[in-house]
């Protein structure tokens, strides 16, 4: 290898190492700072630039909602276990299974309604513009995934369903 080309190759490697090192260090420090926090509401504070008063009000709502959410989750999990056991036993009538499925769906509906009501309460505690953005984002995240599944089932996989 000729000398100038060798110098340029070494210089490129050094430049890459310098850039990579700086990038990695800065990334690590910032990511660690975010990961160390244990406050559930950090994201709201960062994303929606809330004042301390707004955050205190939202924390109140959040703390009030969590036990309800947890209770709903426990009820849904218990009902799902019951349904799975009934399906596994295969001695239950279709009507019993249908009833249990209806109960699971009702619990999920109640949970979802309460969750959406909570999102609306939180959005009202924010400045109007940020509140709307929060509500849209939360609906997109929590309900969007389910809608995507529905769309995929009614779209491309429609033909496959017809054949079964």
């Amino acid at each position: 290898m000729r000398k100038p080309a060798f110098i340029l190759a070494i210089a490129s490697l050094v430049a890459l190492a310098v850039f990579g090192g700086a990038f990695y260090c800065a990334h690590y420090v910032c990511a660690q700072r975010g990961a160390k926090s244990t406050d559930d509401l950090d994201w709201l504070k960062m994303e929606f630039r809330l004042s301390d008063t707004e955050l205190a009000r939202i924390r109140e709502l959040h703390d009030g909602y969590l036990p309800k959410c947890s209770d709903n989750c426990i009820l849904i999990a218990a009902k799902k276990r019951e349904l799975n056991q009934a399906i596994a036993a295969s001695t239950n009538s279709p009507a019993t299974l249908e009833t249990l499925r209806g109960e699971v769906a009702a619990l999920r509906k109640k949970c979802q309604s309460e969750m959406l009501a909570h999102f609306e309460d939180v959005s009202r505690a924010m400045p109007p513009e940020q509140g709307q953005r929060y509500l849209a984002e939360m609906k997109r995240i929590t309900l969007g995934a389910h809608e995507q599944v529905e769309q995929s089932m009614s779209g491309t996989n429609h033909a496959a369903h017809d054949h079964h």
Partner: protein
Amino acid sequence: MNTDKSNPNDAALRKILREGRPTPGLPPRFQANVWQRIERGESGANASWIEALAALVLKPRFAFATASALVLIGALLGMWEGSAHARQTAQARYIESVAMSMSR
């Protein structure tokens, strides 16, 4: 000058003069050097900018400025990426806390 009027012995005289003039010998590795120059001439454009860049890279002021710029750009990009990552982690934590049933 009219060559017809020149002395017929001129040719012989010129020969004697040429033989009398000392001619220097070829320098060592003359042929190899000629080939090197021909090759350099063929790849002249490439070699010139690579050499110029290599010379620039070796200048301490340029090297220091480049390294500083790379550290700055790398750190800024790293901070930006790290903040986005931290934001995603915080968002996931919030969603997990308020929509526990969605993840089950």
